[in-house]
Subunit: 132 residues, 2 copies
DNA sequence: CTGGATCCCTCATGATACTG
DNA sequence: CAGTATCATGAGGGATCCAG
């Protein structure tokens, strides 16, 4: 992991950036939040949005986000099981942050919303990825 | 670790957030960029701003930022040695992102506002002060 | 469908010492 | 001052199987 686990009680001696990033720590939190900005999602819906994350990690990251108070988890006692994930009010306040991250990525990494790439991305890996 | 090392060869299937975050990956990149937003800094100046990062790590993160094209490294062939670190034009485009991160941190994590950062105080005394 | 439980292993980070 | 060079570590993350 990168930053200390997100705790509001943690000691971040003077760096608000570090504090915020600690909430996004972990390999997938940012992306999860990004997708949840679009509204509530079920577990498998999230899985489909994150093609390359394992089930285990998705669960783990979601639990951590829940613990941080950014994401709410609602279990419906039905068969088959259903669990909804949504942003909490606190999570929603991250919208400007996520949007800034998304905007920069779109402008500088040539990452199309549809998943296509332009520019600097290595032809090799892209080609390989597409072939796969 | 959080995200895959910032390499444009990575596969970011449609998530600009993940792409951006990959540039901030590592324990200290965000904070380094944050401080460099204030202008060029020498190596030891940065060290003083990041009380808890080891020399080795600071060097490493700076090198990675340089490789990502976000930070420039200027060596002056003088004695004693002098090396300046500054944001590149690309690095400067991250300002909105860093500012969003900082703003959120200031609002949601108890952190001193407006330029005053406890970072300059040693961890020991900060911890002691909080305990008190 | 939504996870929990295990095993395993890489790698990012840390501590320390040395150098031009 | 601004780094390298080594060595050690442990937690993050992947794979797989099991369960209500």
């Amino acid at each position: 992991m990168s930053l200390s686990r997100a705790k509001l009680t943690s000691n971040f001696p003077g760096c608000p950036v570090e504090a915020t990033l600690s909430f996004l720590d972990g390999k997938w939190k940012g992306v999860i939040l990004f997708h949840l900005m679009g509204g509530t999602l079920r577990f498998n819906e999230l899985r489909r949005k994150l093609p390359s994350v394992t089930q285990r990690m998705l669960t783990k990251q979601l639990r951590e986000l829940e613990e941080s108070g950014l994401v709410s988890r609602t279990v419906f006692p039905v068969v088959p099981p259903r669990v909804d994930y949504a942003l909490t009010p606190l999570g929603l306040t991250l919208r400007p942050v996520i949007e800034a991250l998304a905007a920069w990525g779109e402008e500088n990494v040539s990452c199309l919303p549809e998943g296509r790439y332009l520019g600097e991305v290595s032809d090799v890996s892209v080609t390989a990825a597409i072939k796969a």
